[in-house]
């Protein structure tokens, strides 16, 4: 009965809060494999509140990316269902592990892409992008092609691209996975700052316990194949948070607890 704390926390939020932004019920994903099929995700149930920041932790191959792909509508669920607040799939901002920029578009053109796809005139799109560029600290790099951007800068462009259409749901798949430790920490702080300015519902996959603690309201831990919900951990740190919190005793204690829980 080790899933009962998670169940209880979901029931509690039902009573206290507005309807969840996202509800995942008994979600399973099956992939074909030699001699049959295998479960990448099995019987996953959780919900996410509007403007909640949720991190997903789990070993490689536990289906974290698969979960995000299902939530983004890139992959149909094999069983179970996903419910969104207004009944229809929301506008989604997706950030991949690699920046995944279009090499033939400059930084600003990459950021405006989602708006152009919505038919918003270029001039207006550029104006909106300009605001974001200042917010993410890339002023002066508007007309630079991706090949001339550093890893951290490219990833910031990717985040700006995900934010520009004002998504209802932000999905981040190990967005800082390819960065060095220092850059990664700085990007984490920047993301924290961004989220405090523009509150979004966020689901973020990460391997870093401290990143998860600093950023999120809740941490979902998945088991190795097949991915099931092992733990639904509410982060008791107060908001607003700042980078310095990483170095407090309470933070250290929490990381130890979370680490022990993951095993």
């Amino acid at each position: 009965m080790n899933t009962s704390p998670a169940r209880r926390s979901i029931e509690m939020t039902h009573q206290q809060l507005p309807p969840p932004a996202l509800e995942v019920r008994n979600l399973s994903i099956l992939f074909p494999a030699e001699g049959g099929t295998f479960h990448a995700l099995r019987d996953l149930t959780f919900s996410v509140q509007p403007q909640e920041f949720v991190c997903i932790l789990g070993p490689s191959g536990s289906g974290k990316s698969t979960l995000l792909r299902v939530l983004a509508g890139l992959l149909p669920p094999s069983a179970g269902e996903i419910r969104y607040a207004d009944g229809k799939p929301p506008r989604i901002g997706y950030v991949f592990q690699q920046a995944n920029l279009m090499p033939w578009r400059t930084a600003i053109e990459n950021i405006t892409l989602p708006l152009e796809l919505q038919g918003i005139p270029r001039a207006q799109a550029r104006q909106q992008a300009q605001e974001l560029i200042e917010l993410i600290g890339l002023k002066g790099f508007e007309e630079v092609f991706p090949r001339d951007l550093s890893g951290g800068m490219a990833q910031r462009v990717a985040i700006a691209r995900a934010l520009i259409q004002d998504p209802d749901l932000l999905l981040l798949d190990e967005p800082f996975g390819s960065l060095d430790a220092l850059t990664r920490e700085r990007m984490g702080s920047e993301l924290l700052h961004l989220w405090q300015v523009r509150r979004k519902t966020v689901l973020m996959v990460t391997h870093s316990i401290s990143e998860a603690l600093l950023l999120s309201d809740r941490v979902l831990v998945l088991t190795p194949r097949p991915g099931r919900l092992a733990l639904d951990f509410r982060v008791p740190l107060p908001r607003p948070r700042s980078d310095e919190m990483r170095y407090t005793a309470a933070f250290g204690k929490l990381s130890r607890r979370l680490k022990a829980a993951i095993g």
Partner: protein, 285 residues
């Protein structure tokens, strides 16, 4: 060595430590082509004089030059060149258009690929020179046949590169476009065309050169105008200088077409090149 780079934080080193040597090499390169051309002309002239070859075997450079001037001033050269150029242009356009459309369908649908693959492979096994007379029998000696041969010869390299280019579109970018709910048309415009363009233009570069060959094959088989026809005329009258004039004109046409595609590549693929090349320092392509 200190290099100040404005704004960009990870430029590749523009010109390495041996900047002095490479600058000298660059200057030499500017002259090396003219020098080699001049040398070739001298050897040619020397060969004609020493071996005392008759003009119908090998005319001297001077003779070819004066024959060129004559053909230019009496309008012969222009008339025939414009015919060949028209055939090349139409053939290149038609072949490229067809190859792009069919290439897109093949890249998109395995069904199409299986349907067409045997014919495409077979068509490559048939030498175009061998079926050119057949095409003349079917479609007559007019311009249409030449355009057709041109298009056929251009078709394959452009087709292959279209397919390869489209298949190489990164899956991650496809996922991005899907997460943004892009329509198929938007997918084509914003992702597939720009992503496939470098490989596609590579095919076009080959196609452009081949199209000249296509036109000449057609004209050599049956024609009453065009540079291929001019070569036939020159041969028939032992006017070997005229053959040279026609051949050189053909080479010039091919180089011009090639140059146009290179120019297209530089304009459309500026994002691929090193920043310092983008600013006009590109030496070789």
């Amino acid at each position: 060595m200190e290099i100040s780079i404005p704004n960009l934080n990870n430029l590749k080193p523009p010109l390495g430590g041996e900047a002095g040597v490479s600058a000298w090499l660059r200057r030499l390169r500017l002259f090396i082509t003219p020098i080699s051309l001049l040398l070739a002309l001298l050897i040619w002239e020397g060969l004609v004089r020493i071996a005392q070859l008759p003009a119908f075997i090998l005319p001297s450079p001077g003779r070819v030059a004066s024959r060129f001037w004559q053909a230019l001033t009496d309008g012969t050269l222009l008339r025939h060149t414009s015919t060949t150029l028209l055939e090349i242009t139409l053939g290149l356009l038609a072949g490229t258009l067809l190859a792009t459309v069919i290439g897109y369908l093949i890249a998109k649908s395995p069904l199409f690929e299986h349907l067409l693959a045997p014919y495409l492979v077979a068509s490559q096994a048939i030498p175009i020179v061998a079926i050119a007379p057949l095409l003349v029998i079917w479609f007559g000696p007019g311009i249409f046949t030449k355009v057709l041969i041109c298009a056929l010869i251009v078709f394959f390299p452009v087709l292959v590169n279209t397919v390869v280019g489209l298949r190489a579109v990164p899956q991650e970018l496809r996922a991005l476009m899907r997460s943004l709910r892009a329509t198929p048309w938007q997918n084509l415009k914003y992702l597939e065309i720009p992503a496939a363009l470098p490989v596609f233009l590579g095919g076009l570069r080959v196609g452009a050169t081949l199209s000249v060959i296509g036109a000449v094959i057609g004209e050599l088989v049956a024609a009453d105008r065009g540079l291929g026809f001019l070569i036939n005329v020159g041969r028939g009258q032992y006017d070997t200088a005229l053959v040279f004039v026609a051949v050189f004109t053909l080479v010039t046409l091919a180089l011009l077409l090639y140059g146009v595609v290179i120019l297209l590549e530089r304009r459309m693929l500026a994002w691929q090149s090193e920043p310092y090349k983008r600013n006009g320092h590109k030496i070789l392509d």
